[in-house]
Symmetry: C2
Amino acid sequence: MIGIKSIASYVPVDGLDNYAQGAKFDKDNEFILGKIGSAFLPRKAAEQETSDLCVEAVNALFANNPELKRESIDALIVVTQNGDEEGLPHTAAIVQHKLGLPTHIAAFDISLGCSGYVYGIYALKGFMEATGLKNGLLVTADPYSKIVDPKDRNTTMLFGDAATATWMCEGADWQLGKASFGTDGLGAPHLKVTNGVFFMNGRQVFNFALVKVPEHLRELLRASDLKADDIDAFCIHQGSAAIVDAVARRFEEAPLEKFVKDMVETGNTVSSSIPLLLEKHVLPSTWKRVAISGFGVGLSWGSAILHRK
Amino acid sequence: MIGIKSIASYVPVDGLDNYAQGAKFDKDNEFILGKIGSAFLPRKAAEQETSDLCVEAVNALFANNPELKRESIDALIVVTQNGDEEGLPHTAAIVQHKLGLPTHIAAFDISLGCSGYVYGIYALKGFMEATGLKNGLLVTADPYSKIVDPKDRNTTMLFGDAATATWMCEGADWQLGKASFGTDGLGAPHLKVTNGVFFMNGRQVFNFALVKVPEHLRELLRASDLKADDIDAFCIHQGSAAIVDAVARRFEEAPLEKFVKDMVETGNTVSSSIPLLLEKHVLPSTWKRVAISGFGVGLSWGSAILHRK
């Protein structure tokens, strides 16, 4: 079975002081840290394309895993809704070329937002198992700095640029358990781009997440024959400190501390938020079993159990 | 194993008389039929969105398969590079809502062009098998009329609008055999959109297909322990009459007649071309085994064997 072998990331060093940005909107430091959750929002350089963020993340993965050779990569999925070009070609093809990956590679983009990593790991695992491929990369890179209006107080304090790369192969330590998914296009207008500018109805998205995510986690645990006590940590999409706190409080079966919260230096990195948590908190841990949950654009949501082999 | 149960399509009734269009570019009827291959190019109505084409194709699928209930659909992939919105949200979410599909559905877009169907069937099969989902829809809809410049003689005579819907589930008649894939982002500039307008370097794409596709089919047959004689028909992407003829001639192991050619009334429908052939020529046939091959934007290519259960 294909599982998660290693995760690496790229977070731009440059970015915005979110306290300074908050001050422009009359938001104090308590609001920025307590509600938004991020003191700093990484920003890609103007000349960096989405594919360049992907390349940085994959090169970090190669650096961490010298046994992984470029020539052995045979599958590549890029999860993004802010790719290099206007729809076509797909960013994964550009990444293949920039990285010098072999041409006998299956490469495509998946269009999903904050739920994208949960879908992406099953899409890559499934595609590889269905086609007999051996070494796949799932790359997330959705730089919202391309579309966020710096004058929009509902979005400009939230999002950070980042990319992650997940190596999936046979015999990996972390295996994929049960997963559950959902989509409700009725809520599509709550998160969308018009004339190149991102709009978010924050209240609607907050309410959606608060109602949907705890219940979805419960369903997943029931389907997996697990109790909350069996889960060492919950790594949910880091939409904001407020939403992570609110979901954690509503999921009363688990103590608040089990909900990993780490966005102070990254902001909401869309589909990169969950793999950033996994890279930093789960893969180096002694934990046996974690739950992940992503939710956002679509509206779309997905939750899954990851467990050690 | 998840396989292909049924395929339906939507081809707009309105469109362009390609002979009349050819005359504007001093192209005679022999050129239009013999080289381009299409006397008529279907065009969606201005008010039809990509999601509307998807809805028409899926409704045709429901009409053909009364036993397939909306409530039982749990997976939906839309293959497109010309979706409804500017990157986000994904078109699959909009299709979910317009069709009234259940919200407990996994839905996302795959960004691929003319190779998209080959990737898409393995992506959907793999995703469903990895997650235990039961009834999936693979929808293709890439209306190039959105991006083709009617003054560009290299593209405006080629492309037609269409959509297809493929029902994938357990116990289907047509199973997916071995597949092989490739990507070469070095050729990304040969097919791309800039400022909303599609550009194609026709000669480069023709040469790429002519060199790549016959060899790729040979590799696939070798990997499958099959000979050309074991294949009842070759259903390759209908890029143009010239490219299908040229690939067929270069693949000397099989008689020309085994290469299905049917684009007179559709044009090049991008990721819909292969499922249109399967719907019309393969599913109603007594054939036992066919090869499919898609190639284009990326550059990206994919070939696979489909066989009766």
